[in-house]
Symmetry: C2
Subunit: 262 residues, 2 copies
């Protein structure tokens, strides 16, 4: 089965980026649902699609229904789709495929491993699209669709997808907190965040070319306790930052010693 | 005063990258010191310089002596340089310029804000070079030198440099730990770290274009306590990772609420 007509359920960051990528690859986004009508309209307008905030009003003829909403709404939205012939997928890293098994026949997971913003469209070409499906037939259909937007397609179980999602939380969301803290420390002291930008890019590139555990540098890695003590003193007014500094430093030393033993 | 002849004291990651950049910009690295003779030789050979592991044997005629060693050795090495005419600088983020004031006349700080590896040479062009000097004359000489390798030169006090260094520890060293943890979680589960590489690059680029506090995404940012609880369960065998997860998540929520009030 070739997927052409698609209904997008959700109009957030992921839904927007995915709908635009699929639309750009020649697929028809025939309708967009969001519980906030204005959001549904904004995305629908970009894909020449219909829009609604009533799930019951969605067309029943699409080949694929993509539920790209908050995790907690997936099951309920799928149930409300009622008796449709098309495949239903969700795009979540954490929700197992079994969320659909008691009420759907053809279903799957279509999880693009990326961080999305509405205001900047990312290129899908290199994004790993992680697939899981209720049958071989559905898997082939999802694979063909994924291939139209990305060259990086992985079949992965619900259990491993959870781990992948967790690792992405460390690599992306927690990294972002470090950037925020760095920005806050600089701004508190009248310094520009721009100063750190070459370092941020180099740190990412270094780890894409090499091995993170071999790229570690800094005071904790050198076990330079004088600098570590002094830096913790600088954080005494921000106890959460200080606590993070201490824990991160301990982790750097633990990982270093573990690798030394290998 | 125009700096041409330079002695490099140290042969580690920073010393290597800086010596090669200066050498590439037409400066003469006339000698390299390292307490490990083989390391001094490796770097000296790349710059057509002499090498030694005896500080007393360094030439006394250089315009500039760059101490690019561990923080704790800077003062002692500078003292051992004895009665030389050239400027003496260190390259540390944390050590104040005053480390030189009781025994030197012309001195300063030449701090390139970057993470260095010996095996990959970085381009200095965009690296912020942070300068501090004992006099206007020394500052001009260091500025001219820095301009030969970078377009990004900043004059910054010892006190602010410490904060800049601390912010770099968060943005680079702590980010690197997150990548290591992500890699460890993936490898433990038979998954490739390659899957995260597009996400790592996008997370860095997003924050170079935008504002970290506005780029935050993920379960903690959405206050999705079900996913957070489940992800902490996945970390129950690695208590340090779990502790970090909990602290990072709390920080994301604190920062989000603080920004909401602005």
């Amino acid at each position: 089965m070739q997927i052409r007509d698609i209904v997008m359920i959700g109009a957030g960051n992921l839904a927007t980026n995915l709908a635009l990528a699929l639309s750009g690859a020649g697929k028809n986004i025939i309708a967009v649902y969001s519980r906030t009508l204005a959001n549904a309209k904004t995305l629908a307008d970009q894909c020449q699609a219909k829009f609604t905030n009533q799930i019951e009003q969605l067309p029943s003829t699409a080949h694929l229904y993509i539920i790209a909403t908050t995790d907690s709404c997936i099951k309920q939205l799928s149930e409300k789709l009622g008796d449709i012939k098309g495949i239903v997928v969700h795009t979540s890293g954490s929700i197992p495929i079994s969320v659909f098994s008691d009420h759907r026949k053809n279903y799957g997971v279509f999880y693009p491993l990326m961080t999305f913003s509405k205001h900047s469209q990312v290129s899908f070409a290199d994004i790993p699209v992680c697939l899981e499906a209720s049958s071989g037939r559905v898997l082939i259909a999802l694979h063909l669709l994924a291939k139209s937007i990305s060259k990086n397609i992985v079949e992965i179980s619900s259990e491993k997808r959870k781990l992948l999602h967790l690792s992405a939380v460390f690599a992306c969301n927690f990294t972002n907190v470090n950037y925020s803290i760095a920005e806050d420390l600089l701004h508190q002291n009248g310094l520009s965040f721009d100063l750190l930008k070459p370092l941020i890019i180099e740190t990412a590139h270094k780890n894409v070319l090499g091995n993170p555990s071999e790229n570690q540098t800094g005071p904790a890695y050198r076990e330079d306790y004088i600098t570590m003590h002094e830096q913790m003193q600088l954080l005494k007014e921000t106890p959460q930052y200080k606590e993070l500094y201490e824990l991160m430093s301990k982790l750097i030393i633990t990982i270093k010693h573990k690798n030394d033993q290998l």
